[in-house]
Symmetry: C2
Subunit: 361 residues, 2 copies
């Protein structure tokens, strides 16, 4: 069981600490003199409170699938932020306690996210099939499917709906487990008193926080610099589909496309981490922060989300095409769909490259 | 070919006119005072001579397929130019005679071009299959094909090689026909004395020619302005594949993609016509002409050639996928190939749009 490690605010020698964190979740911190611990605690209080509220919403949603899905989305949203912020600002926390919480939060977001991911992927592939089947002059989103497209859609529907249903059961099971209850208890602790490293109460927020954000930023820029942005910046480079028909080299190795995508997925995770890190700074600095940086990080993250979604959709189309005894027309439609989604991958890389130029001028 | 008059450019009014085209094909025209008839005749003499030389080369090539193919290419090259220039500068010619020649030249280039087109299309599709099957890290142009890609390649090979062989026979038959002999006789007339409208001998080249070129230029700009260049200018607009799986609306109407491509093909023909028109001007004006315009027209034409080639390759992949009793893996590879080539179509439109901005500043 995790325990709190409460430690009172202690200012550095000679400097009076002007802290006014009274009610958790409604921290009001004086600019410039707030401690790193106070700012971090204020942010985490807020997210932990959101987490617990979403959990209540989920419990109350009952049979309403839409409400439950929205509550799960909010739950994941807070969980991702708490885990991310605990990672960026780790040295300021009681790491023995927070490292374990972080592991559990990553587990939870993984379990809860899968159902949503399958539903979104099916929607994306259905949308693409309709777009590809659109007759000339017909408005977008309408149009009847050809036999091949309709069969491909039905096959994907069957496969992804099954995966979605399984993920739904797994999520419900997770939310009823003792593992989840322990996690919820830990988040409740966070909502009342964040276990910090004692030193965090002595460090000025404006000195300690940017330093840790900088470390995350460097990890991100290193990861992005390793990406083939030169190629991605030339439109229609045909790189994302270059391995579209390549054989898997070994049974236990991922297909070439997955290997090609992996560094982009890593950049996506680091952009997200950097965004959460910025949220803590922004709450602290309020008017000081450069709003355009947050906007650009959001844009960069969205481009990489689209990259991930398209890559996974392409993989699902390829995987469906390996179903035994499908009709050639179905396989043909799935091939077109696969290539279409890989071009979405390429398009997302191009979009990311252009946004990134403005993140690091 | 024409050479500049060593006496240099003619001066303004008052300076004696030093012009005369005496020997066909070696016209020596003074700048500024040459007649439209002389300049046009000089260009056509040159192309007609090239045509007859290529015809001799073709006859002498015997069993050497490569020589025969190169001779046929040169024959088409001259035939296209003569037909194009007779169209642009039609009012300067004896139209009763030249209209018929033009019709026959269009027939010949069509018949001779088909064999080359099928060979080029097969090479393009084979290249794409290899590119798509390339394993990660493998250099371009190498790599073994997966089962689906190999079967798709074999199917395309069978279908396009058959079409190529038929076109080859048709071309040989055409070259042996009395229709072709009549055409060759007409070109021989052109090589000795171009049938011009009597008035063409009285018009100044620098006045009459640019006026006719301008008419062609206006047809071209009208055609290009009707193209959806706004959409094409946004990379990854996914427009070229928008109808990739659309059903043909009626059995006798072309598929949606062909209808979408038609105005681009028309622009391609007009860019080519404009280029040939410019060649006549350039030979006449020599140093005066803006070399960058010719270069840009060439670039624009190449982008639209790629557009046509990719569109036809995509159609061949789609058509091959309708072969009865193919394996799903083959159909899948053909679907990927179809989408890949439609993205080449989109890429070519994007490239054309960028070049066109510099053709009409």
């Amino acid at each position: 069981m995790m325990t709190t490690n409460p430690s009172g605010p202690a200012g550095p020698v000679g400097v009076p600490v002007s802290v006014s964190v009274s009610v958790p979740g409604s921290a009001s911190v004086a600019m410039g003199t707030a401690t790193a611990g106070d700012v971090l605690a204020g942010y985490l209080h807020g997210q932990a409170t959101d987490f617990l509220r979403s959990l209540r919403l989920h419990a109350e949603s009952g049979a309403d699938a839409e409400d439950a899905s929205e509550a799960a989305r909010l739950l994941r949203r807070s969980a991702r932020r708490v885990a991310g912020v605990l990672q960026v600002y780790r040295p300021l926390t009681d790491t023995a306690w927070t490292d374990q919480l972080r592991t559990e939060l990553v587990w939870l977001t993984g379990v809860l996210g899968r159902e949503h991911a399958y539903a979104a992927r099916l929607a994306r592939l259905r949308g693409a099939l309709h777009r590809l089947s659109r007759a000339e002059g017909e408005p977008e989103g309408t149009g009847s499917l050809t036999v091949g497209a309709a069969r491909a859609g039905a096959l994907l529907d069957r496969q992804l709906s099954l995966a979605r249903t399984r993920s739904h059961s797994a999520a419900l099971q997770a939310l009823g487990s003792s593992r989840f209850h322990a996690l919820a208890d830990a988040v409740a602790v966070l909502a009342s008193e964040v276990p910090l490293d004692p030193a965090a109460r002595d460090l000025l927020a404006r000195e300690a926080l940017p330093c840790l954000v900088e470390q995350t930023h460097r990890r991100l820029t290193d990861a992005v610099e390793a990406l083939p942005l030169g190629v991605a910046g030339r439109p229609y480079n045909a790189e994302a589909l270059a391995h579209g028909l390549a054989a898997t080299q070994a049974a236990d190795s991922p297909p070439a496309e997955s290997r090609q995508d992996a560094p982009w997925h890593q950049a996506r995770r680091l952009v997200r981490l950097r965004r959460y890190a910025q949220e803590v700074l922004d709450e602290h600095e309020q008017g000081e922060a450069e709003p355009s940086l947050s906007v650009r990080l959001l844009g960069a993250g969205q481009a990489l989300d689209r990259h991930r979604d398209a890559a996974e959709a392409a993989a699902s189309a390829a995987s469906a095409a390996r179903t035994p005894r499908i009709a050639p027309a179905t396989a043909y439609a799935l091939g077109v769909l696969h290539a279409d989604q890989r071009h979405e991958v390429e398009s997302a890389r191009y979009a990311f490259g252009r946004i990134w130029q403005r993140v690091t001028p």
